[in-house]
Symmetry: C2
Subunit: 403 residues, 2 copies
């Protein structure tokens, strides 16, 4: 009998129409390019590894494997480790019952579960413009239609939003120090959005990985805080402890918790029993109360270095449309910059790379009406000296482009 297989015959795999819509993450592909040695990269979305509390992690691993080795290495409940669920419920500043907390593999898995449980083909989903790319990546395979929430001078254009919201399945937003813009929703906008949500029964998916990373004062209370029955809240340990462990959580209204739980079971049975116990050990004695202020201080000083470098290198910034402009994020990891009129970020990138500096063109983050002049700059994982050098290089490239 001859060999059954043959490398020459291409096997006729047929993929789903859902999978046809999947694409490689533009950002991840870009990062492969921008993370060349010698390039100062403002393109990454990674927290600074200087903030990872290695010593206390090591202690926690040893303690968990000493005290409860069998439980930590065995299958466990899909809902998550009960003491961790209770600690999260206590930590959040509104009335959360631990039975509403579902432990996930980072908030990305929360987005995937939301996508499975709430999106039908052609469901209308309202998103910010620009919005978080990981959310689009999670939602797209379930074939929704996206509509952007347009802005006017007071934030979202409420009339436009009301019209769009009537037949929408939900609204997705990152209220604090958003990825990509670094912007934060004002108190007035939050009130308006919540009122709209309650008036017309529009669910809100509130994704808040950066909320703890404020620089001068906490952001206004979350939307979920105001409207817990109408919101799913996504939280994460990625930005305050470690992204590599992939642990986050959802707070889900009781009426739809069972479906989220069933989706979680089907997805991977449960999140790591071991990692959940390690995280619990790390934070149970108030570690975050001392740790998070250190991250805030570090990221604030890095933001200030970047703002100063920008001001020094672009003395006429913001004065008219032929100049660059940028926002002043009050927390988080990102700053949003706009190039001079007629300049396009994707065209600038290769030249910036050639002079040793990288960024992410902002247009990738839009579902429609892409702003081709926009650029996302991360200020957290590059040293102060390199931030100064990188912004100087970026300014040279922009100046050369303009002449």
């Amino acid at each position: 009998m001859s060999d059954i297989t043959s490398a020459n015959i291409k096997f006729p795999w047929k993929i789903s129409s859902r999978a046809e819509l999947m694409n490689p993450s533009v950002i991840r592909e870009l990062l492969k390019l921008t993370e060349r040695p010698g390039v100062i990269s403002f393109a990454g979305g990674l927290p600074s590894p200087d903030t990872f509390p290695t010593a206390i992690f090591k202690e926690a691993c040893n303690k968990v494997l000493l005290d409860q080795p069998h439980e930590a290495l065995q299958y466990s409940a899909s809902e998550g480790y009960q003491p961790l669920r209770e600690m999260i419920a206590d930590y959040l500043p509104w009335n959360v019952d631990s039975s509403q907390v579902l432990i996930t593999n980072g908030s990305q898995q929360g987005l995937d579960l939301v996508s499975k449980v709430l999106i039908d083909k052609n469901s209308k989903i309202l998103v910010e413009s620009p919005t978080y790319l990981g959310a689009l990546m999670a939602f797209i395979p379930m074939q929704p239609k996206f509509e952007s929430m347009l802005c006017n001078n007071e934030g979202f254009d409420l009339e436009d939003l009301k019209n769009k919201a009537l037949d929408a399945r939900f609204m997705y937003l990152v209220p604090n120090f958003q990825n990509p813009t670094g912007n934060t929703l004002t108190e007035t906008i939050r009130q308006n959005l919540c009122q709209l949500s309650v008036d017309i029964g529009l669910p809100i998916i509130e994704d808040n990985p950066y909320g703890d990373l404020w620089f001068d004062q906490p952001p206004p209370p979350t939307l979920t805080n105001r409207n817990p029955e109408g919101c799913i809240y996504l939280g994460s340990f990625s930005k305050v402890l470690s992204p590599g462990l992939r642990l986050g959580y959802m707070v889900v209204p009781k009426s739809i918790f069972p479906k989220m739980l069933q989706a979680k079971q089907a997805a991977d049975l449960h999140s790591s029993s071991f990692s959940q116990r390690v995280i619990y050990e790390v934070i149970r004695n108030g570690f975050l109360d001392t740790h998070i202020p250190n991250i805030r201080a570090l990221y604030k000083s890095q933001r200030d270095v970047m703002l100063n470098a920008l001001a020094n290198n672009f003395p006429k910034a913001g004065s008219h449309e032929d100049e660059v402009s940028w926002n002043v994020p009050s927390g988080g990891m990102f700053l949003w910059m706009r190039l001079p009129k007629k300049m396009r970020a994707v065209d600038l990138l290769p030249r910036a790379m050639a002079s040793g500096v990288a960024f992410v063109p902002g247009e990738s983050f839009f579902t429609e009406y892409a702003d081709q002049r926009s650029i996302r700059l991360s200020f957290v994982s590059v040293s102060a000296d390199k931030i100064r050098e990188g912004i100087k290089n970026l300014a040279s490239v922009i100046t050369a482009e303009r002449n």
Copy 2:
């Protein structure tokens, strides 16, 4: 302004038609009942915690956090930790390139990715009868139609299968020491299935979490070994190291690897950087070569205790339809038993529980033509004494039922 929220108003969440099809895992719900204190439970599907190598895990955690703390706690590639991918490719006994290996959160996540990437609404999926419930849980939300692969005296009924296979999207099976039956596909069946797969271009999803747990001799080579272009192979560290870490892997033909990778990115970005490095440290120096034989020896002795207890308590077993019968699994964790004619496992369960013994009624594992007399018994996580006591109790209940 009055409070926006009110506990009295039920917020109008609308779930997807996909989510309507989700159900709580019958087994997980059942386990909550059967794991009462004082009940000898053959119902669980958990590996014995006596097989968890705690000491070497602790060493590995410390080493990883000493040598590469930043990498272990940082975001990492969606494909998985490259040295681990290479080790898996080397470990498998056919020609696997590490670029085909995708690290997943246990093989359950592999099933979820398969479901997303390969199943459209109404896609026909061929499954064994009975089949693994976790696979059904992963597949059902994508709304396929299941067809059972019927058996005759030589294994699958090939004529029946050929007819059904022509327009099927894929065939799913657990070839070795299957969950729930403990059965293993013969060499002849494997040859026939592979030939059919190649002849008509039918992809096979081969789920092999138990393959290493053979008792006397290894099972025949896997289907993927014979037909790598036409198979996706799912492997797991859950049964040979620890299920609680949630780490497994897929081996995917190169033509569809990019789509699986994109689905993994969207699902949770990547599996734990830390856990992947810990597992790599644990097994890099051949640990499994000494560890797996210990698990085999333990599980074989437990199986033998159960087989002896069954023979002692059911002296007339298998002689006719009024007697119980069971198979002799040659590896894995499960034994499949059939009750006497006219007896139904779900009816027997409450009476068994009342006399202190639990099992899983087999009918939950069928998509059609459920065998109501069947019972799944796990022999791995109950001590020898308790196995004897539990089987004795079960025999009493069955005898009482018959009289």
